[in-house]
């Protein structure tokens, strides 16, 4: 998927969990990504972050770092 689309989707998820009470938004974003993003999508996100992660919400980046490693 295009990086713009992936960034948009990840930021949408981060925006929802940031609006929720509690200080665990990154954990909850990570759980959502693990539950609903197919491994190659998660791999693409991690690769994108490794290259700088431009445009990603900091919570999305923090969440990605909590993802367990995936075999793409």
């Amino acid at each position: 998927m295009s990086p713009e689309k992936m960034v948009h989707m990840a930021n949408q998820i981060a925006a929802f969990f940031k609006s929720q009470p509690g200080a665990d938004a990154a954990e909850r974003v990570a759980a959502h990504l693990s539950d609903f993003w197919e491994p190659r999508m998660r791999a693409q996100l991690l690769a994108y972050i490794a290259e700088g992660g431009a445009g990603l919400d900091p919570v999305a980046i923090a969440a990605a770092q909590r993802l367990k490693p995936v075999a793409a």
């Binding site: 998927m1 929802f16 609006s19 009470p21 197919e38 190659r40 995936v70």
Partner: protein, 960 residues
């Protein structure tokens, strides 16, 4: 297994059922006990005695006009009409006596004197109550010579008869012959009471009285008639008659089955001659529809035998070549070789499936099993992705299960209804008729919709409030309603304390009480006047049983899942969960959307909404299937297309779904399909997706197979085979052929065995068997040890998840915003006569009502652009552009335009974007920033598309 079911007791009881204290009376010497308020006619029917009648039927209130049902009652004067006389304790009724026989015969003689003598060649022969009643009362002669009549075209002296009117055959499915009409008003009453359209009337007085569709200047087609057929069904004389019966003759047998159109799931009697379908008549025992239907279910079934149907398998090396008809063996062999080669080269996860919300539960279950147990991945999705996936997520999070909470009967007990983002009179017409009946009894209605749908104001229906919000602001409006309820102290705290997590409620209440959610603060954003919104919130909180019905106008947004949670919050706040007349009710688009979701079509969950990450759930299926199941979620439809463009997804088996037409951003879908090495389309027709397919497997229609559909009420209805599959196989057999060619070793011989497997692996279906459904007619899941006969109402004593969960619903504007280049917002929907991508309904006479998609635009926006009604206009977004004709109307607000997506040559989805719901990737169909301008005709895209489609649909003559 029984393929053919003779309808059980569906006698006409004469007048509607009543609820009330038992009353015992005597009829012809038999003692009978019925509820208070029951008519003498119905009580007699309960005792097995049929009183002659013409103007009464049990779907409408008694009227007492035909005077044929006269009876004698001891101690009462005269001969009262049994249909309008309620029973009384100890009443002694005689339905037969010399006196009533003489009177009835006299009445019949008068009818006969002003009615055409029925000859041997009349289509109504054997289908006319008038004939039957004439025989019943023993009418043998007619002594009266008519002085004037409306029966004969010419008078005795050869001059034209001014009272005669020609047959109205303007409706494509039935005719109205005024000469045969006895003005009993049954059709008018059915239109009013059952359908709720009020299109028919009796005009004139006395001898001049005539039934008229619309005004005297109208015919059926130009009137408000929606062609539901209720009038035809009740007509006792054959004055209203199906054209199919006139053409083919009367049916000789009937089979009860389930409609394959929308998520209401109406039960029908398919009436046949041999294996030729003559008529579909709604079945009174059907608990979703209670004997009613719409134009699609009753009449629009001709597509099943349309000449466009493909009956032979076809293959081709590349999509630029013409199709080649081949044997099933060759087609399946070709497909399996390609799929195996793809998986060898690109890996296990490079192929997947799309299950169909139009196919049966059993077929859907097998398709997801194919990917999980044979392809060994979780790449399965269904068109629910693009409609109700946010319902699954939102209701799962708040209540603990992904389904509507009520049955349709519940609407009869509701006091205040919110309809949000749904247009039931077009999308779910039979439910709409049931809702309108309740509204006419006094229930209040709140419509939340950017467009003035028919329910806002139509005959005898007027919404108390129409909150005409700007597209994309559902969450702001729903939160503002909740704000008013909480801030004004209208929340049902007793319910919340008992049934919901109280701490979460306190957090939520603090959030929602914030002034930023107040209607005054959000008015500028939503366009909904604050006072109107406050009044609506108070009405919903204080008006009694409050129910919420919603559709794709809620889900198909960037915040679709958040809006569903907001709706669940509203229901919990007001204590409107867990009893009749209340609840949260998603109106499902297609016949088996609910079922396809239940059956594990989503890539992250196994049947019964259980995540694949859970080892205990995987273990159940690993044991049943003898394979290891991938614990990672698979690709959703948009993700499959993205992966295809990226080169890591190469093969797709797509059953009964047309993603090229129905999914957003057509160019992207086309690019994804074009990048694949093996696209297998399994469908009735060469649909748009098939333009990019390498293998075409012909499908079977709902008339040609056994199985079950699950409707929006969680009701599992039986689909029964009424004729042999024209393509040779039921769809589940085709999937099994493919699976077995890949080494699956399946040996199902009947869909009931597939249901047995579902029951054995899925707790909410544990008690479901074909025998149970046959016995009960239908059953609503959960059906298990705890509820052996199913569950009409959910969350009665507690939520499925335990405590109901309030979730904070912050409004976050979609990034799809109107701006200088694209100043208008496009929203999309559908129309009564057409269904989804139109593959079925476009191949019926329903096109007479809607032969092209139109762009609704407000007069103000039209004038600014120099657009007149009927002009060709160009509709452009950042994704693409198309052209269609404009319809200038104030149904849409200024700044908003609207169209339908039923026609592939319009391709409304060329314009929609790839934005989607944050949680589920459900596309944001309902908000696209667009510009509209005048145009000369089809766009380049439309012309290129048409050329590609024509090229792709070529079929080589079969080799001899």
């Amino acid at each position: 297994m029984k393929d053919f079911i003779i309808p059980w007791d569906d006698r006409d009881m004469g007048t509607p059922e009543r609820q009330g204290a038992p009353v015992t009376l005597s009829i012809d010497g038999f003692e009978v006990t019925v509820p208070e308020g029951t008519s003498v006619m119905r009580a007699a029917a309960e005792a097995g005695i049929e009183v002659p009648k013409l103007c009464a039927t049990d779907s409408v209130d008694a009227f007492g006009s035909c005077r044929l049902c006269l009876v004698e009652i001891e101690g009462r004067k005269g001969t009262p009409a049994s249909c309008t006389t309620p029973v009384a304790p100890g009443m002694v009724v005689h339905t037969q006596s010399e006196k009533v026989n003489r009177l009835r015969k006299g009445v019949m003689e008068l009818y006969a004197s002003d009615h055409p003598a029925i000859g041997l060649t009349d289509a109504a022969n054997g289908d006319s109550e008038l004939q039957k009643m004439a025989a019943r009362v023993g009418l043998r002669e007619v002594r009266y010579e008519p002085l004037a009549d409306h029966v004969h075209r010419r008078l005795a002296d050869g001059t034209a008869n001014p009272d005669w009117r020609p047959v109205d055959d303007s409706n494509p499915y039935f005719t109205y012959d005024p000469a045969k009409c006895i003005v009993c008003s049954l059709c008018v009453r059915a239109c009013d009471e059952v359908q709720g359209t009020f299109a028919l009337t009796i005009e004139g007085r006395g001898f001049d009285s005539r039934m008229s569709a619309g005004t005297g200047l109208d015919d059926y087609l130009s009137s408000d008639c929606v062609s539901c057929g209720a009038c035809v069904q009740v007509c006792p004389t054959g004055s209203l008659q199906e054209k199919s019966v006139a053409e083919m003759g009367l049916p000789e047998r009937s089979v009860i089955t389930t409609c394959a159109y929308c998520g209401v799931g109406c039960s029908f009697k398919a009436e046949l001659r041999g294996d030729e379908l003559v008529r579909m008549e709604p079945y009174k025992g059907g608990k979703a529809n209670r004997g009613h239907s719409c134009v699609k279910g009753r009449f629009a079934w001709g597509y099943a035998t349309h000449k466009d149907r493909i009956l032979s398998p076809m293959i081709r090396e590349t999509i630029n070549e013409p199709w080649r008809e081949v044997s099933w063996d060759e087609a399946i062999g070709f497909a399996t070789n390609r799929l195996k080669a793809i998986q060898e080269r690109y890996g296990r996860k490079s192929v997947g499936v799309i299950t169909s919300s139009r196919c049966t539960n059993e077929e859907t279950y097998l398709v997801q099993k194919l990917t999980r147990a044979v392809f060994m991945n979780n790449n399965t999705d269904t068109c629910a992705r693009v409609c109700h996936s946010p319902t699954g997520y939102g209701l799962g999070q708040t209540f603990g299960t992904s389904a509507g909470t009520q049955d349709f009967d519940s609407v009869e007990h509701t006091d205040v209804v919110i309809v949000i983002g749904a247009n039931p009179t077009d999308g779910h017409p039979v439910f709409a008729s049931r809702l309108k009946r309740r509204l006419r009894q006094g229930a209040q209605l709140i419509v939340i919709d950017p467009r003035r749908i028919d329910l806002v104001k139509s005959a005898h229906v007027r919404a108390a409030h129409h909150l005409q919000l700007r597209p994309g602001t559902n969450v702001a409006v729903v939160s503002a309603l909740a704000h008013v309820i909480v801030a004004e102290g209208l929340a049902n705290e007793a319910f919340i304390r008992e049934r919901c997590d109280w701490d979460e409620y306190l957090t939520y209440a603090e959030f929602i009480r914030d002034p930023r959610h107040s209607p005054e603060a959000t008015e500028a954003l939503t366009g909904v006047p604050a006072a109107e919104l406050r009044a609506a919130a108070r009405l919903f909180a204080k008006g009694g049983n409050g129910s919420i019905y919603y559709g794709l106008g809620v889900t198909e947004h960037s915040q679709g899942s958040t809006a569903v949670m907001g709706i669940a919050n509203l229901a919990m706040l007001t204590g409107n969960i867990g009893r009749e007349g209340v609840g949260v009710n998603p109106l499902r688009g297609q016949n088996n959307v609910q079922g396809s979701c239940d059956m594990g079509s989503f890539p992250h969950e196994l049947p019964g909404y259980r995540h694949v990450k859970n080892p205990d759930v995987r273990a159940i299926f690993e044991k049943a299937w003898g394979v290891a199941i991938d614990p990672e979620p698979g690709l959703r439809i948009p993700n499959m297309l993205d992966a295809a463009v990226d080169g890591s997804f190469k093969g797709l088996y797509c059953q009964g779904e047309d993603i090229l037409q129905s999914d957003p951003d057509t160019r992207h879908v086309a690019a994804g399909l074009a990048a694949m090495d093996c696209v297998i389309v399994h469908d009735l027709f060469l649909n748009e997706t098939a333009n990019y397919a390498h293998v075409f497997l012909p499908g079977s229609s709902f008339l040609e197979k056994n199985g079950t559909f699950t409707n929006a009420e969680r009701r599992i209805n039986m689909v029964r085979k009424v004729m042999a599959p024209k393509n040779g196989y039921e769809d589940w057999e085709v999937t099994q052929l493919l699976a077995n060619a890949l080494g699956a070793g399946w040996n199902y011989t009947h869909p009931s065995q597939i249901m047995d497997e579902i029951a054995a692996t899925t707790p909410s279906f544990a008690g479901v068997t074909y025998d149970l459904i046959d016995r009960m007619g239908s059953v609503q899941w959960p059906c298990n040890e705890k509820s052996p006969e199913g569950t009409p109402l959910m969350h009665v004593d507690g939520f499925v998840r335990g405590k109901g969960r309030f979730i904070v619903t912050e409004y976050l504007a979609t990034d799809e915003k109107a701006g200088p280049r694209f100043p208008l917002l496009l929203t999309t929907g559908r129309i009564l006569s057409q269904y989804n991508v139109g593959a079925q309904t476009r191949r019926t006479a329903n096109t007479v009502w809607h032969d092209q998609d139109l762009l609704e635009i407000h007069p103000h926006d039209a004038e600014n652009r120099g657009i007149k009604n009927g002009d060709w206009v160009r509709l452009a977004s950042r994704s693409g552009e198309t052209t269609l004709r404009a319809k200038v109307t104030d149904r849409v607000a200024p700044g908003v335009v609207y169209t339908t997506f039923h026609h592939p040559d319009t391709q409304a989805n060329v314009v929609t974007t790839d934005f989607s719901d944050w949680a589920t990737n459900c596309p944001e169909y309902k908000v696209t920033a667009v510009q509209v301008g005048r145009s000369n005709g089809p766009s380049d895209w439309q012309e290129d598309y048409a050329a590609q489609a024509a090229n792709s649909r070529r079929i080589l003559p079969a080799a001899e």
